[in-house]
């Protein structure tokens, strides 16, 4: 391939190309159509990292403050620090004060933010109605306020059937549900899950919060929602249409370094927050958004190994799946596709066509090997 094309590509991607260079690149690409494919692939690879990672800086910033506290303390208020630094006694006091101030500040901030953003405490008596979709089944229902809810397999919601007479429409969810929320400006609709809370006025979106999953996920189809993670109520995340939010639990593997003067405990688990665009899957000339297709009774999967698919198939078909495959060719193969009305038998037969494996179904147990 023409080295000049690569050079111009590099400049184009990094935003360094002059208009003349861009023109030259276009000209070269029309003259060397075989290079177009590379250009396309490289551009895609370069751009695809659109994931906007919300790094949680709260703890980092507290550690930063602790490490450099003297820089921020208000020395004017403490006359001892104005004098040239004397013997030890002088030195200890400002530090002690700093620590006390920091503790008060952190405590106060925590309480304040809890008070300010904590949603009206969900009284347990408020959630007098409970609905459940069993494994292998999906159902849709209408709430008293006109909101339509689709419940995916193995999910449960609890709400107050008297919600129209309350200030907020509160609901708690365990599992996955799609909401088409009826508009009501005066009564925000609030969904509580194990890890996150979502506040909306009127919109359509999907929430996936199975207690056993590592990932809690929200996909917004239209409108806008405000999302808070339960253990950081002061950090609000606004989602735009066709954006996906994911909270990923990651076991923490790094021990604490003991060099900072004040130790701030790290959470035992680290959570990663990610917001990214939803990209529909193209299958047979149709577009599917795999996160919400279940609402239409369609099970869409994309680029997933058998192992990744198994828990989803289990919920979808209400079966127990055990996989024992040693051939890495089969084990690591990534599948993309869609199931509609198929039975588990038909589904696995279809998958087997792509990469051969054998399976046995007895009652609700499936063995794949």
């Amino acid at each position: 391939m023409d080295p000049r094309i690569i050079q111009l590509m590099a400049r184009k991607l990094s935003g360094e190309a002059t208009p003349e260079e861009l023109e030259e690149l276009n000209e070269l690409l029309t003259r060397h159509p075989e290079a177009l494919y590379y250009a396309e692939l490289i551009t895609q690879l370069w751009d695809e990292e659109k994931m906007r990672e919300i790094t949680d800086t709260d703890i980092s910033y507290l550690r930063h403050l602790a490490r450099h506290r003297p820089e921020f303390s208000v020395p004017d208020a403490d006359p001892s620090s104005l004098q040239p630094s004397g013997p030890h006694r002088r030195r200890i006091r400002p530090l002690t004060w700093t620590l006390i101030l920091l503790a008060l500040f952190a405590g106060g901030w925590y309480i304040f933010s809890r008070l300010r953003t904590a949603p009206p405490a969900p009284n347990s008596t408020d959630t007098n109605t409970e609905l459940f979709a069993g494994l292998g089944s999906r159902r849709s229902l209408l709430l008293p306020d006109g909101t339509r809810v689709w419940l995916n397999a193995g999910s449960r919601i609890q709400y107050d059937s008297d919600m129209l007479h309350k200030n907020t429409r509160a609901l708690s969810l365990s599992g996955e549900a799609f909401f088409d929320v009826a508009k009501d400006k005066d009564r925000p609709f609030i969904i509580h899950t194990d890890k996150i809370a979502i506040k909306v006025l009127g919109t359509a979106f999907n929430v996936k919060a199975y207690p056993r999953d590592k990932i809690t996920e929200t996909v917004l189809m239209r409108g806008s929602i405000e999302l808070t993670v339960n253990n950081k109520p002061y950090q609000k995340i606004i989602l735009k249409p066709r954006e996906k939010f994911a909270l990923i639990d990651e076991p923490h593997d790094v021990p604490v370094a003991g060099s900072s003067p004040v130790k701030i405990p790290r959470p035992a688990q680290q959570e990663k927050l990610v917001v990214q665009d939803v990209v529909p899957v193209q299958l047979e000339d149709k577009e599917y958004v795999k996160e919400v297709s279940w609402v239409d009774d369609e099970f869409v999967f994309q680029n997933e190994t058998l192992e990744e698919l198994a828990p989803k198939l289990e919920r979808w078909f209400n079966v127990q799946i055990r996989i024992r495959i040693d051939d890495p060719q089969v084990r690591d193969y990534h599948y993309t596709g869609i199931f509609h009305k198929e039975t588990i038998d038909q589904a696995l037969t279809a998958l087997r066509l792509i990469r051969p494996f054998t399976f046995k179904i007895t009652d609700s147990h499936v063995f794949i090997h």
């Binding site: 391939m1 590509m9 935003g15 980092s60 490490r67 990209v279």
Partner: protein
């Protein structure tokens, strides 16, 4: 990006003029994660990288009365971080010579939307591998341009190289990727 730059300018102003700590906190949010990642390239330790980034951020606060004199704060912060890292490494290692070529750097293509055209997971792995086999300096340049969106000039300033070198190194990286594609599709 432009909006972000205006935001940064406003925040810097209120830090410089009003000693405004909340604005500093927002600047911390903007820069700290990048600086930490950058420091990690040098130090290979999460804790050390966090300390280096933290100590670099505080330099911004310490020099707040002169912030308006800094031309490009992003580059300035990267340079401060680089110097700090090199210092740490110098103290840490008896080895006197330290060049960019000894730093291990990981590059990943996270690839969440591969259906636009078919970059398969297998293909992606191959390209990742190809890029990761590049010389370290080349990788660091690739990372800064791609992931931090820095310009050639900015990268050159941060790493103390010429713009020409940055240009050439990026071409090397892209050529490597192209070759991988070629092999895979036997085109």
């Amino acid at each position: 990006m432009e909006k972000l730059n205006t935001d940064i300018a406003t925040l810097l102003y209120s830090v410089a003029v009003n000693n405004d700590e909340p604005s500093y906190r927002r600047l911390f949010d903007i820069f700290f994660p990048s600086l930490k990642k950058f420091a990690h390239c040098y130090l290979r330790s999460v804790e050390l990288a966090e300390e280096a980034a933290s100590d670099s951020m505080i330099v911004l606060w310490q020099h707040r009365d002169r912030l308006m004199e800094i031309d490009n704060v992003r580059v300035w912060l990267f340079v401060v971080t680089r110097n700090r890292c090199l210092n740490i490494l110098k103290h840490q290692q008896a080895r006197a010579t330290l060049s960019l070529d000894t730093i291990p750097i990981e590059i990943t293509f996270p690839g969440k939307d591969p259906e636009q055209i078919c970059i398969s997971t297998e293909m992606r792995k191959k390209m990742e591998k190809a890029v990761n086999q590049l010389p370290h300096r080349c990788k660091l340049i690739f990372k800064l341009v791609k992931e931090e969106g820095l310009s050639y000039k900015e990268v050159a300033d941060i790493l103390n190289l010429s713009v020409k070198t940055v240009d050439a190194q990026l071409v090397t990286a892209l050529r490597k990727i192209t070759q991988t594609i070629k092999l895979d599709y036997s085109l």
